[in-house]
Subunit: 282 residues, 2 copies
């Protein structure tokens, strides 16, 4: 099913920002996402850039706070921001803690009870959502890229590395790069995937980059005043992993920046430009 329902629509930078819901076959619930169509979308199919948000976010936060529409309109790129998890699924405990369940899907396909019935965010992001987007919006299906923030930076990295043919480029703001080795990731993976840590490796960017790498340079910005830097994000692990396998990486420590959307807004132009170059738009 690719029927979508328009929830709200706003004109923005001469384009159209829409908020939508649809029934997900994979997550077996209503899912929401937002789409910014720049003005060029009325003339021709355009590349699509997916943004994955961090813990507690919804499909609207990036569109409200990041200031990305100006740059999407400049380059002629459609931006899609999905929600961060299924919601209202009736899964026991889904609303009990902020870092598991609702708002915290971690972009994995859950294999453990009680999560596996609905929490299929990995396949939702790489398979179902693009099908929905490509059948409802003027996209170039062979021109897709992905980026994200924090938990969503993790999501972008694993989606891109596991699907290099689907995603032309990847970038991240303050990503969780090794969920196997930080508290957020260990908690989420043990609950979603069970205790066999072998199954965790396919969702860990530091593992993946050494196993499969990526076909083009990865752009990462990381604020040095980020309150999660040293115990959750662990960027040096990814820098070292990339170095081991000669993975091209443009890792930028940004002095004084924190984990907020003010940080994202400051560097979103550079990220969209990174993807615009991959799309051949600059």
């Amino acid at each position: 099913m690719t029927d979508i329902n328009l929830i709200a629509e706003y004109k923005s930078f001469d384009g159209k920002l829409g908020f939508y819901s649809h029934v997900s076959n994979l997550c077996k619930c209503e899912m929401r996402f937002s789409v910014y169509q720049p003005p060029q979308a009325t003339q021709k199919p355009l590349p699509v850039l997916y943004f994955l948000s961090g813990l507690t976010c919804r499909e609207d936060v990036f569109m409200i706070k990041a200031g990305a529409q100006y740059w999407a309109a400049k380059y002629g790129i459609i931006i899609v921001a999905p929600d961060t998890s299924p919601r209202l699924t009736g899964t026991p405990g889904e609303n009990d803690e902020w870092d598991i369940g609702t708002g915290a899907g971690f972009y994995v396909d859950a294999t453990a009870e009680p999560w596996k019935s609905h929490y299929q965010m990995y396949s939702y992001i790489v398979q179902e959502l693009p099908t929905v987007i490509n059948s409802n919006f003027p996209t170039q299906p062979d021109q897709q890229s992905i980026f994200g923030h924090s938990m969503g930076g993790h999501g972008a990295l694993i989606c891109a590395m596991r699907n290099p043919d689907i995603y032309k480029s990847v970038s991240a703001f303050a990503p969780i790069v090794t969920p196997m080795n930080c508290a957020w990731g260990k908690k989420a993976f043990s609950l979603y995937l069970g205790n066999n840590q072998e199954t965790w490796r396919d969702y860990d960017a530091c593992e993946l980059v050494q196993k499969v790498g990526y076909h083009s340079s990865i752009l990462i910005d990381q604020g040095t005043a980020d309150e999660f830097l040293n115990h959750q994000l662990l960027p040096e692990e990814f820098i070292n992993a990339c170095a081991k396998v000669n993975q091209p990486l443009n890792f930028r420590y940004q002095p004084g920046y924190d984990h907020s959307y003010y940080f994202i807004a400051t560097f979103v132009a550079d990220h969209i430009r990174h993807h615009a170059i991959a799309f051949g738009l600059e």
Copy 2:
């Protein structure tokens, strides 16, 4: 008293976004405001642009949603966004309705009971707040301008026209231009100012422009899909009033735009440029 308390601070576009509180002598309560200092502020005093927000907003909304920091950093302008009213004053009824009291100060000096003890937003904006700002931030006190949205567009217009020597330029997004003749304004003015409508005229942009005019062209953007256009905003009244007295006015109907911050974000660059020109920065 010009002591201010820092509530939170974020690096943004190589500058500094701060949220502050202080005790207002005029409003006799704690008031909050936000200040964006672009990177140039570490080198020299800069012009200051005040943004007045609309009904229900706080001091943070413009900084979160408008995407203004990019342009403020580009031109080298400090932006100050005050709260829209006193809060927690104990005034009877202050939290009972969304369009009066808290979040709805309407930028007037109240003269009627029970509001007059605290609701002195006009003098707060034009006198007390600039004193606080100029004594705590690296400003050029002779380089100030003002803009705003909706109720705050009304506020910007009346502050500028009544104080042409203080404000080099004025602009507005979807302003209330004749509060004497719309439901929001009639309700607020009758409660804050009493029923003698003669006292309302000094807070009505359509009246003021005919009485005193303004020394330079006024920039106004107004979305044609604005849900408040025809019964609250009444822009044609201001266009006609300006025409009567040959007041220079750059009034732009923006097709398809609504009343939201997506509209503001789309045109904020033009507004900041308008003020940058008045400051001699472009």
